[in-house]
Symmetry: C2
Subunit: 244 residues, 2 copies
């Protein structure tokens, strides 16, 4: 492991760091690019282990992973998506509704595997370290598992799409979840023809990428970096963003 004048003995060597940043910057939400090839058991096991090693509040590990191969189960999920998507379309102004309907927003039937990440809100009892002030923390732990899974999948060349246009009540029923278990993420996984260079909604001009400096504040809300003595960080952000 390399050592640097500034930095830390725990810093990763350059190739490892490149891998971490490549996974982060080239990860995409995949909907239209799925290929049918199955994901080998070894690859899937590594991706699931990555998810299971997410941080969790009080080491609660509130997640479960339901792997959905069965096309009949998927067909029911797809029906639920269609209903939710039609309700969603109605919420957009007429001027945007046509564009919305033109987006492909899920790959439920054509991806190699569907996977639902859940949160068991009762795991290890009612009092969990770190969940006393903010009960929502268990849900957030399950989301951390999703993001680990997403990045590990990217490293394996496997695409992931998160289907959020769906009713949680429908999912609970279709997957037979117990009352204390809630669905957090319904994911589609599979090999892909490509990882698009940008998020599709950015490419389509639906919304712009925010500049880093717009979303960074110093000490309290609204105080920006440069006038408050941290111009060096602002310059560094511009350099990093230009590269990525």
């Amino acid at each position: 492991m390399e050592t640097k004048q500034r930095g830390s003995a725990h810093e990763f060597p350059p190739e490892w760091k490149t891998g971490v940043y490549e996974a982060i910057f080239s990860r995409r939400d995949i909907r239209a690019q799925f290929q049918p090839d199955p994901i080998p058991a070894d690859v899937l096991a590594r991706i699931l282990a990555a998810a299971h090693h997410a941080p969790s509040v009080g080491f609660m590990q509130p997640w479960d992973f339901i792997l959905i191969r069965d096309s009949q189960v998927r067909a029911r999920v797809k029906e639920s998506f269609k209903r939710a998507n039609e309700e969603a379309a109605e919420q957009f102004d007429e001027s945007k509704r046509g564009t919305y309907r033109g987006f492909k927003l899920e790959g439920i039937m054509e991806s190699a595997l569907n996977l639902c990440v859940t949160c068991d809100r009762s795991r290890f009892g009612p009092v969990v370290i770190g969940r006393t002030s903010q009960p929502v923390m268990d849900l957030y732990s399950s989301v951390c598992a999703v993001q680990n899974l997403w990045l590990a999948a990217r490293a394996e060349g496997v695409g992931v799409g998160w289907v959020s246009i769906i009713s949680a009540a429908d999912l609970k029923k279709i997957l037979g979840l117990p009352p204390e278990v809630v669905p957090v993420a319904y994911l589609c996984l599979g090999y892909v023809t490509e990882f698009p260079p940008q998020p599709e909604l950015e490419t389509a001009g639906w919304l712009p990428r925010l500049q880093s400096a717009e979303v960074i504040h110093l000490d309290t809300w609204g105080a920006k970096l440069t006038p408050n003595g941290w111009a060096e960080l602002e310059s560094a952000l511009v350099r990093v963003t230009e590269k990525s």
Copy 2:
């Protein structure tokens, strides 16, 4: 980039993959191991860019990042933690309360930097793609940003601790957040003496690591892998878990 018989042209080369999995498996929640050295601007900029490139529902990018250097702001946050922690201790059975009070659960004052990740629930207006059925999706996007930040920090040799024993209302007041912006994660960042080999609550015997097979189901809740024709995946999970 290597190609494999099974797999994908988009799979990372071995060293990059190692980096991704090392970040995931050696990431820790840091509370007691902080060193005072400042984080250089370039390193911090890369970590923040990683967070800003998280997935977000409808490309909403609902996050903001408040960097807290000021020790007076931190002292107020620490006071809020102390109150919440005392309330938390009372919730544990007497038999566990002493152990709970013995855990160090934050590094607010001694870490190089504090950082609050928020969620602006009104960003880009009331109707956002993918947030129509599940309004909580914007909060989940901010959590994805936290997990990207955590893994990028690990690659840089920077430790992160998530302080969840704190009142969200106090944080809103101390940091001056507008009504539509909620705090999602209050983090401590800094170089560390070590990344402990295991989560501290696992080492302390507070809770056990769950076996992967315990949290994986096939097609619907409760259906396990081996009796349902996917013994190959179960074996692969055992192999992966033994290594990590």
